[in-house]
C-alpha cells in the first residue's frame, strides 16, 4: 500500500500546491547546505607583528618578530657587517594565511 502511494507520487499524483511546497523545501535545504559549505571554505588569516632593523651606516637590514619593548628609533646593538648602530626602522603587521 505504501509502495503504491510512493509510486503514485512519482507518477504524478501530486497537485500543484504540494509540488511547490516540496520544490521550495528542497531549494531551501540545498541553499543552506551550499552556504555552510562555502562559509567553511573561507580563508583564515592571522596578523603577525614584525620589527625591521636597519643599520645607520650600511645597507644591512634584518626582519624579526616583534617583542615587548621595541619601538621605532630604538638603537639595538651594533650592525654585524660594519659595527654601526642598528636601529629599529619600522614595526608593522603582516597578514598571513592559515591553511
Amino acid at each position: 500500500m505504501v509502495l503504491r502511494e510512493v509510486n503514485g507520487m512519482f507518477l504524478g499524483d501530486l497537485d500543484t500546491f504540494t509540488l511547490i511546497t516540496i520544490a521550495l523545501t528542497l531549494f531551501l535545504i540545498a541553499y543552506m547546505v551550499a552556504m555552510s559549505v562555502f562559509s567553511r571554505r573561507k580563508e583564515v588569516k592571522v596578523r603577525k607583528t614584525y620589527t625591521i632593523l636597519k643599520c645607520v651606516d650600511c645597507d644591512y637590514k634584518k626582519e624579526r618578530e616583534f617583542k615587548e619593548g621595541d619601538y621605532v628609533g630604538k638603537v639595538e646593538g651594533d650592525c654585524p657587517q660594519c659595527e654601526g648602530p642598528l636601529v629599529i626602522y619600522a614595526i608593522y603587521d603582516k597578514e598571513e594565511k592559515l591553511r
Binding site: D15, R47, V72, D93, K94, E95
Partner: protein, 364 residues
C-alpha cells in the same frame, strides 16, 4: 473512503486570511520587533564579551605595572571623567572654553593615573591612560546599545529596533577594533594613526628634539639648503601632544617668516579606496575637536602662509589597531611627496614647518 482536500480553496482562504492579518493588525511590526530584538540580544552578548575581554587586558596590564588593586582603579575610572560640551549658542570664545575644558579633563585623568601609579615613568603613564580610556569607551558603547534596546522594547518601537540592528554590525566591528587596539598600547606597538609622526621620524634623520609644548617636540634640520622645522608628539609613549600650540609657537618665534606649512596625518578612507593611499591638498590635516586645528589655521592666515595637507588613507579600525605594512608603505609615499614639496615649493634659504599629527605610541 476519504475525500481529498481542495487545495486551491484552502490556499485562497489562507491568502485572504493572511492578507487581513498583515494589513489590519500590527502583527508584522510585532514580528519585526521580535526578530530585531533577538538579533540585538545576540550582539549585546558579543559586546559584553568584548567589554569583559578589554577589562581582563586592562587588569593584566595594571597588575604588570605594579597596581595592587587594578579592579578598583578601572571601576574608579569607567563612568567618570566625562566632559560637558561648552555652550555653543553663544559662540564667542568657544575655542578658548573648549580648550580649557579639554585640558582640564586631560589633567584630571593624568592626575588620577599618576595617583594610582606613583612610581611609573611617563611612557607607562601615557599607555595606561589610553588603556583605561579604551575600557571606559567600550563600557559606554555597551551601555548606550543596551539603553536603546530597552527603550525600543519599552515603547514597542520597532523602527528604533530596526535602526539599532542595522547599525550594530558596524558598532560591534568598531568595538572589536578598540579591544584589539589594547594589545598595541599594552605592548607599545605603533598604530595606524601614528602615520603622521612616523613621517616626521623618517624626515628628521639624526636631528635632536626640543620640547616646545607639553608632550610635543620640534626638530630642526637643513634639507638641500631649506630650513625645516618638524613637529610631532613626544614618543614612544601613547600621546598626540599639542601640535597646534607647538606650530603656533614655532611660527611666532620665526615672526611668520615661513614659506610653507605642511601637516601630515592619517585620514579616514572611503570604502572604495585602498589602505595606504596618499593624497595631498590644502588645509590643516588634523582631527582634533577644534583647538589645535584652529591654532594652525589662525597662525597660517595671520602671516598668509600657504597651508598644505598630506593624508594617508585608512579605515577607522585600522587607525586604532597596530600599523599594517600597507599603511607603512603609505608613510613612505607621503615622505616622498613631502620631500618633493620642500624641493619644488620652497626656495633655498626659506623655511618650512612640517607637523606630523597623530598618536606616537611606539615611535620615538
Amino acid at each position: 473512503m476519504t475525500q481529498g482536500i481542495d487545495w486551491t480553496s484552502t490556499l485562497l482562504v489562507l491568502l485572504i486570511l493572511g492578507s487581513y492579518l498583515l494589513s489590519f493588525t500590527d502583527l508584522p511590526q510585532r514580528m519585526q520587533l521580535w526578530r530585531y530584538s533577538s538579533y540585538i540580544r545576540k550582539r549585546i552578548v558579543q559586546l559584553t564579551e568584548i567589554e569583559e575581554d578589554s577589562r581582563r587586558k586592562a587588569l593584566k596590564h595594571l597588575k604588570k605595572v605594579g597596581v595592587s588593586d587594578p579592579k578598583a582603579v578601572i571601576d574608579g575610572f569607567v563612568n567618570n571623567f566625562f566632559l560637558i560640551s561648552p555652550v555653543d549658542i553663544e559662540p564667542t570664545d568657544i575655542i578658548k572654553r573648549l580648550r580649557h575644558l579639554l585640558r582640564g579633563r586631560e589633567e584630571s585623568v593624568r592626575a588620577y593615573v599618576k595617583e594610582k601609579l606613583p612610581q611609573a615613568d611617563d611612557i607607562t603613564l601615557q599607555n595606561s591612560e589610553v588603556i583605561l580610556e579604551i575600557t571606559s569607551a567600550l563600557t559606554l558603547i555597551n551601555k548606550i546599545i543596551k539603553h536603546y534596546y530597552k527603550l525600543g522594547l519599552k515603547y514597542n518601537n520597532w523602527i528604533l529596533m530596526m535602526q539599532l540592528a542595522l547599525e550594530l554590525q558596524q558598532i560591534v566591528s568598531l568595538a572589536k577594533s578598540y579591544d584589539d587596539a589594547m594589545d598595541s598600547f599594552t605592548l607599545g606597538k605603533p598604530i595606524g594613526d601614528g602615520a603622521g609622526p612616523l613621517v616626521v621620524h623618517y624626515l628628521k634623520g639624526g636631528a635632536k628634539p626640543k620640547e616646545i609644548a607639553k608632550e610635543t617636540v620640534v626638530y630642526f634640520a637643513e634639507v638641500n639648503g631649506r630650513k625645516v622645522y618638524m613637529i610631532k608628539a613626544k614618543g614612544p609613549g601613547s600621546t598626540v601632544g599639542y601640535p597646534g600650540e607647538a606650530l603656533q609657537k614655532v611660527v611666532e618665534d620665526l615672526e611668520g617668516k615661513v614659506a610653507k606649512i605642511i601637516t601630515v596625518d592619517a585620514a579616514l578612507k572611503l570604502e572604495s579606496e585602498t589602505t595606504g593611499e596618499v593624497a595631498y591638498g590644502v588645509g590643516a590635516a588634523i582631527g582634533d575637536p577644534g583647538p589645535e586645528k584652529i591654532a594652525i589655521e589662525r597662525v597660517a592666515s595671520k602671516y598668509s602662509i600657504p597651508l598644505h595637507a598630506v593624508v594617508i588613507k585608512m579605515s577607522n579600525e585600522e587607525a586604532i589597531k597596530s600599523m599594517t605594512k600597507e599603511i607603512h608603505d603609505g608613510v613612505l609615499k607621503a615622505l616622498d611627496i613631502i620631500k618633493n614639496m620642500i624641493k619644488e615649493g620652497v626656495k633655498e634659504g626659506e623655511t618650512v614647518v612640517i607637523a606630523g599629527i597623530g598618536n606616537t605610541v611606539g615611535i620615538a
